[in-house]
Symmetry: C2
Subunit: 189 residues, 2 copies
């Protein structure tokens, strides 16, 4: 998260408004995992809340449940291959999944879950316990406690991809190995 | 929905995987409303479920609650102005909001809620009643009962914006009058 800038909690929802595919990062007692999730979405403005769907089969899920926290990262187009790799293996089967993914990891300031280099934003959420949603729908609700973004693409609550390298555009997953990058800005006066 | 093609219910989630901004359409006893919602997200694959956040202040909400159904449309970039207009007025204050928005409406085949011309996809959802989510989070869960897409941009479960007019690209809202259109396809082998 070198050179990232803090995002105020009342603007953090704008990181997720675009609907980009996320990486869900979690850690507990020295174990960590990161998995891609296209199904993440803002839920409230201030304080920012978000939902994310994490299936019971994912190793990440127990880390979320045990720690009570998760981070949502926004991978840039430059790490599309690593993003896919993080969803193609499970830590249930492959203990060194994170290493094998080819992604590079660093620390999220003040939190135990890993940051993935090449992501353009990061927000940490405290789980708001909703056992029925978690059990019936694999749906987790979190309240944002901290957020950061790469100032090359997001400053003062606004995205500006057009002035940054293509590798920093958000990814929007379809299926298989197919994504779209975010495109042109449209301003309605 | 002229020339739209049906989308199978096990592929309908792919309409929403991109995280595009939606239009929420609902009708009850001859009253109808359409509002933009960036906070819509897939929840399950098959049958396709989705979540959408609809605040208590919106006229659309009572139509969803009374009818038990809502549709999620994906407005194309060609109707960005109309999409914004549908979120700038409330039918609580402006009875002819739909007319004033400048959007053109037609029927969704077999359902009462309006379709907005210039949208590139449409899915109808039956509300799965979850009173706590609706009350505490303004979060509605729906199960898809029918879906369609414009074959110029979506066929056989896949998007192909690159072969279609720019006006058919999905919209991804930031704030104010600012959107991004979906951009370049990225295929990872």
């Amino acid at each position: 998260m070198h050179n990232f800038e803090s995002v105020s909690l009342d603007k953090a929802y704008r990181l997720f408004n675009l609907g980009a595919t996320t990486l869900v990062s979690a850690a507990h007692e020295g174990q960590s995992d990161v998995m891609p999730a296209a199904w993440a979405c803002p839920l409230d403005l201030s304080p920012c809340k978000a939902t994310v769907v994490v299936d019971k089969s994912h190793y990440t899920r127990q880390l979320i449940e045990k720690s009570g926290f998760f981070a949502l990262l926004l991978p840039g187009a430059g790490i599309v291959r690593e993003t896919l790799a993080l969803g193609s293996m499970s830590r249930n089967d492959v203990d060194d999944k994170l290493t094998r993914s080819g992604a590079e990891f660093s620390n999220i300031e003040g939190y135990p879950m890993p940051f993935v280099q090449g992501s353009v934003a990061c927000a940490v959420f405290r789980v708001l316990s909703e056992p029925h949603n978690e059990s019936a729908y694999d749906l987790f609700i979190g309240e944002c406690v901290a957020a950061w973004a790469d100032p090359r693409v997001f400053t003062n609550g606004h995205w500006h991809f057009e002035s940054a390298p293509e590798a920093l555009r958000t990814l929007h997953y379809v299926a298989g190995g197919t994504f779209y990058a975010i495109g042109e800005k449209i301003e309605v006066a």
